[in-house]
């Protein structure tokens, strides 16, 4: 645990010692409310809730989370520091966990920057604050899932841009898996059960209930296992590289 915390602190400091975290936070703090006001037309709905914000959140996160995760392993490989890290007396899971939690903390800060919108809704009316809090938990969970996937794909390559593109692609696939256009296309060629199973695994479908204020144990398990999958893939890929280099 101590090793995990050490990596977490080192990684978090790395984010905030360079302009990276600030640029990310500025972009997120501007983009998320802008989407809600301008694209979701929050004001025109006349409802004191944050549905338009949470509607667009997965789409924003699927682009921004891989941007946050792309450096996790790709930068280490690019700078040649990966070997040093692997040689250090730190278990691989602690290194991967530390990196993940640091990125997740930055993501949480970014999500917290939309809090003025929550305050604004309380100013405009009497929103369902419990439902909004649950939607924030859902947002944090989907962000964690995307980060873990992004981190796994960052372990594939030493090029951060390639890691970013791969991350966005993977997050996109797991997001759209349950959308009608994908299911329609699939059910025309494959058995219906396959399409149904795929829809079950869509991050968007799992986020949907949380977004409305309903906490389902199955959804919670899904996001935690998605994060575990991302970390396991990253560990496996890095471990394979260590084995290859040996």
């Amino acid at each position: 645990m101590r090793a995990l915390y050490a990596v977490y602190r080192r990684e978090l400091a790395a984010y905030f010692e360079t302009p990276l975290a600030y640029v990310f936070l500025v972009v997120f703090a501007f983009a998320a409310p802008s989407f809600a006001w301008q694209v979701g037309r929050l004001f025109e709905t006349g409802r004191a809730d944050l549905a338009p914000l949470f509607d667009y959140m997965p789409w924003l996160l699927l682009v921004l989370m891989p941007a946050l995760a792309m450096r996790a392993w790709a930068e280490e490989r690019d700078h040649g520091t990966l070997e040093m890290l692997l040689a250090a007396p730190i278990p691989l899971w602690a290194a991967a966990g530390g990196k993940f939690f640091a990125a997740w903390t930055v993501a949480a800060c970014a999500i917290a920057l939309t809090a003025p919108m929550w305050i604004a809704m309380n100013y405009l009316g009497n929103p369902d604050n419990a439902a909004i809090a649950t939607a924030y938990i859902g947002t944090l969970l989907i962000a964690g899932g995307y980060l873990a996937l992004g981190q796994a794909l960052s372990a594939v390559t030493g090029n951060q841009v390639v890691a970013f593109v791969l991350g966005v692609g993977a997050c996109f696939l797991i997001t759209v898996a349950g959308l009608p256009f994908v299911l329609d296309a699939l059910s025309a060629r494959l058995p219906g059960a396959f399409a149904e199973a795929l829809a079950e695994l869509s991050a968007l479908a799992r986020y949907e209930s949380l977004r409305r204020g309903v906490l389902s144990l199955a959804d919670l398990v899904y996001f935690i296992s998605l994060m575990a999958l991302g970390l396991a893939l990253a560990i496996t890929l890095i471990d394979a590289r260590r084995g290859a280099g040996r």
């Binding site: 006349g46 405009l124 079950e200 398990v221 890929l237």
Partner: protein
């Protein structure tokens, strides 16, 4: 095995493990849900669960929703998400008996044709498209029920609408309600106009309308007497016997029924319109007393009405038309206990129990302790609020019962058998007593059926239901003839939390706008009339050789008219100014301030770091 192949196998194994694990937990843990919304919006009511539990044949629901067309309408989009969630929850809790599909009817597609054929009502969009947002339900024998359009203003009734559709598809036959009414509610009645209460009843029940010459009451599950015409002896006997046989009667009587006298499409009240209604022989037999010459009023809950006082339009509370809030309703009778918004009534009558009656009398709607009585003839003269205030005397026996439930054994109002007369009634079939406990609902008001009493028309936002009149009647119908499980569903609260501050600003601006507009319009009209009068006499024109004073007066009038018009335009421009300013302020605080603060924090932090000695 080569290392890359082994690696690929491990990665594929991890992904397969993730997929398999989640498909398994999705099935096993799906029912472990915690609805954290403040009003428990996604928790199904006990009534819904009861309906779902007893479904015997599978029900197929097709949620028809034009996703792309709706994308341009944020309010519809938000409501569609709520509808979808509700449908999914219902399907998930039905043990596979309710199957749900979502259909996005593309223009000119077979799905669109099917939706139209099923009776769904698409709404034309600004872009010329058609927006479908409804539900089609089928059962195993291909009976079909639909929700033509999910109206966001009706969100409080969403669960009820869906569950009613399922319950109707599941039941073997549609219950029948026989209706006797002097109101223009029957589809073929003279001057009939659409009435949401009747439309909803007709959607759920087979309504059999009896005209005023009826000679028999058909087999029915319940009988509704809605402001009935004066019944003959024989007709009264038929009603009496029906009540004894089935024990299920709802009677809405009124000493002063505005709804009966409402002008029809021809601008005149219907022929043979009855101001008051009564059942003089039946009520004593049922155990209640009612005087058709007395109305009730309640100054504490008077509804706001627009009146003209000294040439100015004002809103005043009117004690003759008032609301019965939840506090004035019975808490022990589910059809009214579930109501949350109150019921609006118009000069209703007063009911009281008869001593020594076999039935139990329980008031289900009552005035506040400040209720008062008034002569119905006086009420018919539309007295002003001031006139009513001057003669207002709180009744010593207030609160006054406006609606009551009579339950228990009934005795016939015709102890000596059928009346002799025009109808050949069989004395052998005569019943002197009811078999079991009867359930009679008396409501001393017919105006609560009038949509003007419970719907606030709004051409911009859509009509809004402001009182529970509709829910009350449907609940009573379900309690008497239909599915009591539906009773608890009708008054669930809506998930919509309005932007109260924006609505207040809009209302204030509207009020200001209306008052000023009226003032300016009157000023404008007066100035224009004055100018016209001057012009007619030729005094307003310098060419006519009029005196300089008169020409000057005409010029001043023209200037006043111009100024009034300009001010009217200013008001129109200023209508949204405050709302726009609020939106701009919120945009500033939520979109611009957080990133700027982060930028500043970043600069300060990086600057401090550079200055820090290493």
């Amino acid at each position: 095995m080569s290392a890359p192949r082994f690696l690929a196998l491990v990665l594929a194994g991890l992904i397969a493990l993730f997929a398999g694990f989640n498909l398994f937990t999705g099935v096993v843990l799906d029912s472990v849900r915690l609805d954290l919304t403040e009003r428990g919006l996604y928790r199904l009511s006990p009534g819904t669960l009861e309906v779902l539990e007893r479904i015997e044949e599978p029900v197929q629901l097709d949620f028809v929703y034009s996703r792309e067309e709706a994308a341009r309408y944020p309010a519809i989009r938000a409501y569609a998400a709520r509808v979808r969630e509700m449908l999914r929850t219902i399907a998930a809790r039905s043990d596979g008996m309710v199957r749900l599909d979502e259909v996005d009817p593309e223009p000119f597609s077979p799905a669109e044709d099917r939706a139209i054929a099923a009776g769904l009502e698409p709404v034309p969009t600004e872009e010329g498209g058609q927006l479908f947002f409804g539900l089609i339900g089928h059962n195993a024998v291909d009976d079909r029920r639909t929700v033509a359009f999910f109206d966001p203003a009706e969100e409080a009734r969403l669960e009820y609408e869906i569950v009613r559709l399922i319950a109707e598809l599941d039941r073997a036959r549609t219950p029948v309600i026989a209706v006797i009414s002097s109101l223009p509610f029957a589809p073929d009645a003279q001057g009939a106009s659409p009435n949401p209460v009747i439309d909803e009843l007709a959607a759920a029940y087979d309504l059999v309308w009896l005209d005023e010459t009826f000679e028999a009451i058909p087999e029915a599950d319940a009988l509704f007497l809605l402001h009935p015409p004066a019944l003959t002896e024989a007709q009264t006997y038929l009603v009496d016997q029906f009540a004894l046989r089935t024990g299920r009667v709802l009677a809405a009587l009124d000493p002063m029924a505005h709804v009966a006298l409402k002008p029809g499409p021809d601008g005149l009240p219907p022929l043979r319109a009855e101001r008051d209604s009564a059942l003089p022989r039946l009520l004593p037999a049922w155990g209640a007393a009612y005087d058709p010459t007395v109305v009730a009023m309640d100054r504490r809950h008077g509804l706001p009405v627009q009146i003209n006082e000294g040439g100015r339009t004002r809103m005043r509370a009117y004690p003759l038309w008032f609301s019965v809030p939840p506090g004035g309703m019975s808490t022990g009778f589910p059809p009214v206990a579930a109501l949350s918004r109150g019921v609006n009534v118009g000069s209703p009558g007063v009911l009281r129990p008869l001593e020594g009656a076999a039935t139990a009398f329980s008031a289900i709607l009552a005035t506040s302790p400040e209720g008062a009585r008034l002569d119905a003839d006086l009420a018919a003269g539309s007295p002003s609020p001031d006139e009513l205030a001057a003669i207002y005397q709180i009744a010593p026996d207030a609160p006054l019962a406006l609606a009551a439930r009579l339950s228990g054994p009934l005795a016939s109002a015709f102890p000596d058998g059928p009346p002799a007369g025009e109808l050949a009634l069989d004395p052998a079939a005569h019943r002197a007593r009811s078999d079991g406990a009867a359930e009679i609902i008396l409501i001393a008001d017919a105006d609560l059926f009038d949509p003007a009493f419970f719907i606030n028309p709004d051409p911009v936002q859509g009509d809004r239901i402001v009182a529970d009149n509709l829910a009350l009647i449907l609940n009573l119908a379900d309690a008497l003839a239909g599915d009591p499980a539906l009773v608890s569903l009708r008054s669930r609260s809506s998930s919509a939390r309005p932007m109260v501050r924006v609505e207040d600003l809009r209302a204030e601006a509207e009020a200001r706008y209306l008052a000023l507009q009226e003032e300016l319009s009157a000023e404008l009209a007066a100035a224009e009339a004055e100018l016209e009068a001057l012009n007619r006499t030729g005094a307003g024109s310098a060419l006519s050789g009029a005196a300089a004073a008169e020409t000057g007066q005409a010029e001043a009038l023209r200037a006043r008219i111009l100024e009034a018009r300009e001010r009217l335009r200013d008001i129109e421009r200023g209508f949204r100014v405050e709302i726009d300013a609020l939106e701009r302020a919120l945009l500033f605080w939520t979109v611009w301030v957080p990133p700027v603060l982060v930028l500043l924090a970043g600069f300060v932090f990086l600057l401090l770091r550079r200055r820090r000695p290493r």
